[in-house]
């Protein structure tokens, strides 16, 4: 009798415990992850104001058609792209170089690894507040250093390119070390035979880097490009805090307002939650586009190798 009950209990345990183990994750995931994601689409078809967030009025696609005619939306999209390029390209190139150097046998290699990762531990807010001071026009360290070599004081915040360059610098500073470690991990997985046979063929260090290291790293490079691009699409904290006086406009002339910042301005400054949802869906489409391009490039890479 007892053993039968035990074995029934055992079977019951075997069958249902997997669900019990994934349940806590999926309960939170459905409530706070998947449901809001889908509901954003629904909300984008309504007029919703922040002052009465549960009071929704159906307006069809009007939020989207309005967005198409909105010069600030296109401005934010342009800025997101230029800041994205200005931050992603140098960040990944420098990371690749640092990883290559860290891959040598070094004394204190762990010290270097931890040191270049410390910016990753610094929050967006803290980092941006410091860089705002370093980029200050009259009293900033960067203009002081430029002044030493005869370059006149640059008005970083108010110029279009200069402000975007400054915002990108913060991103590059925070994420280069992180990406370098990811490249380093991938480099350490490259079998040494490849280098040895390249060396036997008379390849110099540089040729080894170009013809052995970089091709072996292609999947990792693709991965970091995707992750950094997604990060660039949602850039928010840096442009918000780069001009503390201007609120969420991204500078006096919106010169460094990104999509993420424009979404915040529409929703939480101008109180239009429906329009903010429409911007969120526009961002979603851009991400899908990035995903599709990534998939195509990845497929071509796999075919060619």
């Amino acid at each position: 009798m007892r053993s039968e009950r035990r074995s029934r209990l055992y079977r019951w345990d075997l069958k249902w415990s997997p669900y019990a183990f994934v349940a806590p994750f999926f309960v939170f995931f459905l409530a706070f992850g998947l449901f809001p994601l889908l509901y954003t689409g629904w909300a984008s078809l309504h007029q919703v104001e922040l002052t009465a967030p549960n009071d929704m009025e159906w307006i069809g696609l009007r939020n989207f058609s309005r967005l198409m005619e909105d010069e600030f939306f296109w401005n934010a999209l342009r800025n997101t792209v230029t800041i994205g390029v200005l931050s992603t390209v140098p960040q990944l190139l420098i990371a690749l170089g640092i990883a290559h150097l860290l891959n040598y046998k070094l004394r204190g290699s762990m010290f270097f690894r931890v040191a270049i990762l410390t910016p990753y531990a610094t929050s967006v807010a803290a980092a941006t507040l410091v860089f705002v001071m370093l980029f200050g026009r009259d009293i900033g360290m960067i203009n002081w250093a430029l002044g030493q070599v005869g370059v006149g004081p640059v008005d970083w915040e108010n110029g279009e390119w200069t402000s975007q360059l400054a915002v990108s610098t913060i991103v590059v500073w925070r994420w280069t070390g992180y990406n370098a470690l990811i490249y380093l991990a991938a480099m350490q997985a490259i079998p040494n035979d490849l280098y040895e046979s390249a060396a036997l063929d008379g390849a110099t260090r540089w040729q080894q880097f170009v013809h052995v290291t970089v091709p072996s790293l292609r999947p990792t490079i693709l991965f970091t490009v995707v992750v950094s691009t997604i990060g660039a699409t949602q850039l928010f904290g840096e442009p918000l805090l780069f001009n503390r006086g201007a609120g969420a406009t991204g500078g006096a002339n919106h010169q460094f307002q990104t999509l993420g910042l424009y979404l915040y301005e529409q929703g939480w400054v101008n109180l239009h939650l429906g329009r903010a949802s429409a911007i969120a869906w526009a961002m979603f489409l851009i991400l899908l586009l990035i995903g599709a391009v990534n998939w195509l490039v990845g497929r071509r890479l796999r075919k060619s190798s």
């Binding site: 055992y10 075997l14 449901f35 954003t40 929050s123 949602q234 503390r244």
Partner: protein, 304 residues
């Protein structure tokens, strides 16, 4: 800045036998297990200085006063106002309360993420159940979706539940992570022998006992890494907290810093003191566990 160059200590140990330091010319060697030359060290020291300088300068600015920070050239060395400014930031700018709030938020999120990710990761790695592959695909598919895409409905939910400005508004939506589940699954596939689970089952152990006595011990290294990465992310989370919390309610450190930046207190040295206070706890974590965090990121990179 002299402490930054362990490369200086090179001669104190016996020279390595490779002899490649001078011999770039001689025989070309394979690129991987070579020793770094002077150039390598110089470049790495340069990037180390760039990585650390803004943090050091935060402390320098925090130790000055507003008057000195408005002069050109900017200060290059510490002044005497550090503790005064830290005190002002701590009390007037709410940084003390904000630090406590952030510790609660980041601590809860870390515990929740590590626990739930390990359970789900174990189920996905080692157990058989229906819909397993579809559920896993759902997890992976949403791994990279940025928070902006769901922020409006989240805000509506929080408003409806009247959670605005309460800590659960930032804890609960971030309590689980798809990345965490995937990370633990990848780790447990390799690190947890299936025979061990089967042997425990033969001995009559229930699934819960197996989790406690077999899975958790095997998963501990990965749990530690996931915990540290989650803590750093939760501590620095910015977008959702500044929507759900306010400066004068129960801010996290990041929200309080944003308030500082908006000119709540226009004293630049106090702003820098606040930034320093908000960053120091994580820097302490880095000094203590930097090696493990580096290892975790590199490990995650190879597996992911």
């Amino acid at each position: 800045m002299t402490t930054l160059t362990p490369a200086d200590r090179v001669p104190t140990r016996a020279p390595e036998p490779s002899g490649k330091r001078k011999g770039r010319r001689g025989k070309v060697r394979a690129g991987k297990h070579l020793h770094g030359g002077k150039f390598t060290y110089a470049v790495l020291v340069f990037f180390t200085v760039i990585s650390l300088f803004p943090l050091v300068w935060t402390a320098i600015a925090a130790s000055r006063d507003n008057h000195r920070l408005a002069q050109n050239p900017p200060p290059f060395w510490f002044g005497g106002n550090l503790f005064k400014n830290l005190e002002i930031a701590w009390t007037d700018a709410n940084m003390g309360a904000a630090l406590l709030n952030t510790a609660i938020v980041a601590g809860s999120i870390t515990v929740g993420t590590v626990l739930f990710s390990t359970l789900a990761g174990f189920a996905f790695a080692k157990l058989r159940f229906r819909f397993k592959n579809i559920l896993l695909l759902l997890v992976i598919g949403t791994m990279m979706v940025p928070p902006q895409l769901s922020v409006v409905p989240l805000y509506m939910m929080v408003a409806k539940l009247q959670w605005t400005d309460q800590l659960q508004a930032v804890i609960l939506p971030t309590l689980v992570s798809a990345f965490g589940v995937f990370f633990m699954r990848q780790y447990l596939i390799g690190a947890l022998p299936t025979e061990l689970i089967e042997a425990a089952r033969v001995d009559g152990a229930s699934s819960l006992r197996i989790v406690w006595h077999v899975v958790f011990p095997a998963a501990r290294p990965a749990m530690a890494v996931l915990g540290m990465l989650t803590f750093v992310m939760a501590w620095n989370d910015f977008f959702w907290p500044i929507i759900a919390l306010t400066q004068n309610g129960s801010p996290t450190v990041q929200v309080a810093l944003t308030g500082l930046g908006r000119g709540y207190i226009p004293d630049q040295s106090v702003i820098m003191a606040g930034a320093l206070l908000g960053t120091l706890p994580l820097l302490a974590v880095f000094v203590l566990f930097g090696k493990q965090i580096v290892g975790g990121i590199m490990q995650g990179a190879v597996k992911g």
